[in-house]
């Protein structure tokens, strides 16, 4: 008998990917902007 673990796996994977991806995107964009602003200050 299926206990619907496929739906559970999909739900937890999608949540991890979405929130993890969003967190990484914020971090990368922040780092990129900080570097750009630092370079512009140096010029």
């Amino acid at each position: 008998m299926s206990h619907n673990w496929g739906f559970v796996t999909a739900g937890y994977s999608i949540t991890t990917a979405a929130l993890g991806g969003y967190f990484v995107w914020i971090r990368l964009r922040t780092r990129h902007l900080r570097r750009t602003l630092r370079d512009e200050n140096r010029d």
């Binding site: 739906f7 559970v8 969003y22 914020i26 971090r27 902007l33």
Partner: protein, 240 residues
């Protein structure tokens, strides 16, 4: 301090996941093991309401001349963006849970529909934030839009009591139904709400910092463009 905040959030999410996936029991009336989606679906919905509430409050503070500050505008934008991510997840997780329990991925049920409307309203709000030539203009437009969009939050929350819906009524705060969830299920649900609230706080903090950097960069680019234009005009009028 921020690292400690992140570490606490990650640990609490990890503990919640262990309880949600391995400690709590399956329920025959909730799709057997699919009930484990409850520990994601309910907290993400709560965070969506919280995030849009914070956006509405920050927008109000921006609209009052005495409390007007760019901080409120940036906080409103940061919280709305995080809220949109959580609303999207609420819809996806609800659909995944609905398929094994209701036999359908989607129904035009009052709760589902008002939540979908909420998602698109705030997507529109985020698009609106990208318009406007000055920070003041953007602040005013988006603050008014945020307050209008927030009207859908109580409608969505109360839709299950106002209309007959496929979506179940509130379980924890519903005296009429007096449904009790005890033991490991109640603990896991509370742990999930706490850890997702921590995650929301951390994400808003990070997104707010990014918004401040973006704002600084835009202001600097505008200054540079004006300076270049002034310089070009001087060259044009200068005698050869």
């Amino acid at each position: 301090m921020k690292r400690l905040f992140l570490a606490t959030t990650v640990v609490s999410l990890g503990v919640t996941a262990v309880f949600a996936l391995w400690v709590t029991p399956p329920r025959a009336d909730q799709g057997f093991d699919a009930v484990r989606l409850l520990y994601l679906h309910a907290p993400t919905a709560w965070i969506a309401y919280l995030a849009f509430g914070v956006t509405a409050l920050a927008s109000l503070l921006w609209l009052f001349p005495r409390t007007r500050s760019a901080t409120w505008d940036l906080l409103a934008g940061a919280s709305a963006e995080v809220g949109v991510v959580f609303t999207g997840l609420t819809l996806v997780l609800g659909s995944l849970w609905g398929r094994p329990t209701w036999g359908t991925w989607w129904e035009w049920d009052a709760r589902l529909t008002t939540t979908a409307i909420l998602f698109f309203l705030y997507l529109g709000y985020l698009a609106l934030r990208r318009t406007g030539t000055t920070a003041d203009e953007r602040g005013k437009r988006s603050a008014i839009a945020a307050l209008i969009a927030f009207a859908d939050v109580p409608v969505s929350y109360l839709s299950v009591t106002w209309w007959q819906t496929l979506h179940q009524q509130g379980t924890v705060f519903n005296e009429r139904l007096s449904v009790k969830i005890d033991g490991s299920m109640a603990f896991t649900l509370v742990a999930a709400v706490v850890s997702f609230t921590l995650l929301y706080g951390y994400l808003v903090l990070e997104r707010f910092e990014l918004a401040q950097l973006e704002e600084g960069r835009e202001a600097r680019e505008l200054e540079r463009a004006i300076a270049e234009r002034v310089r070009a005009e001087h060259v044009e009028v200068a005698p050869v």
